[in-house]
Symmetry: none
Subunit: 170 residues, 2 copies
DNA sequence: GACGGGATCGCCGGGATAATTA
DNA sequence: TCTAATTATCCCGGCGATCCCG
């Protein structure tokens, strides 16, 4: 590993241990571990994703989100929408990647850049999904936001009941 | 902000920028940003309402302030605003600290330094809250001052009636 | 950054509703 | 044409900070 330009940051002890515990190779750098944890796609680690269907994600994180009133705390539909997408991505990046090609008549809903969304419609108001390389369209009424989440979750293989609960919670 | 035990790690420049770009509050530490991005439940900002009442502050001092015409004596909204904040802080510094992260679209309302407030908006006219380490923004109309007090008190756990009385007294 | 207070008005984000298209 | 789905305009309420007034 040729040394790149490095920056120093401070993290609290617990977080430090958390990062260290996610080491995958002996001698792996903090940078590489973090990149993996944050899902920043980078040359080095390249998780080989099976292009084949992802077998029913069983929503640990999603359930937790529902129960831990995190959604209720947000005060706009947009915030809840963004939070849900972020959790969905983290729960299963591969399935999310596959499912994210859902689209409307003219607009595409997800993309890995703001520009792509802007190019496929007017005033789509794209936003980055936290902790992921994806962006979503945001200029929609609440019904469509529910819809997008429902379609996405269905394509990711979630159970109907859970899909219902999540999309209604927006 | 109490300093915890900190560890130093190195991250490459791109990752560093990614982390920095996810700053949500001015002055937020790398540690806090990472915790959020990694979805590590942060004990610090955890929901202040786990069914088990977070010891609703029962406003002794606040009531006294209301009754002993101290507020009525002040002749500007700003003075009343500052007095109220000072009393609120003294009554429950911990709750105040937690609640003080309320903010507007661009501005942050409270900070532990004048500079932080100045950095998050134009002409915010910060003032130090007497008897506390905090500063507040002051360049707002009276409606917003009421609003800020109401939001703060709500987050501190005061009862609605009292919140109403206090904010209207500005 | 030096007059201070704060009302007024311009701007922006959220998202319902009107418009459009299949 | 009528309806259902999708788009994106545009209104409303909230926030910021200029600027007026004492």
């Amino acid at each position: 590993m040729p040394e790149k330009m490095m920056k120093t940051i401070e993290v609290d002890e617990e977080l430090y241990r958390y990062i260290a515990s996610n080491t995958r190779h002996i001698g792996e750098s903090a940078s590489d571990i973090l990149r993996r944890l944050l899902n920043l796609d980078n040359k080095a680690d390249a998780e080989p994703q099976p292009a084949t269907a992802p077998v029913v994600t069983q929503g640990e994180g999603v359930r937790h989100m529902l129960e831990s009133g995190t959604l209720a705390a947000q005060d706009s539909a947009i915030e809840r929408f963004m939070t849900i997408l972020s959790v969905l991505y983290r729960e299963n990046p591969a399935a999310f990647a596959q499912a994210s090609d859902i689209k409307g008549r003219k607009r595409i809903y997800f993309a890995d850049s703001e520009a792509a969304l802007l190019a496929a419609g007017n005033t789509t108001k794209p936003r980055a999904i936290e902790g992921s390389p994806y962006w979503v369209i945001t200029n929609t009424n609440t019904g469509r936001k529910r819809n997008i989440v429902a379609q996405l979750m269905a394509a990711m293989g979630y159970a109907h009941g859970l899909i219902e609960r999540v999309s209604q919670s927006i």
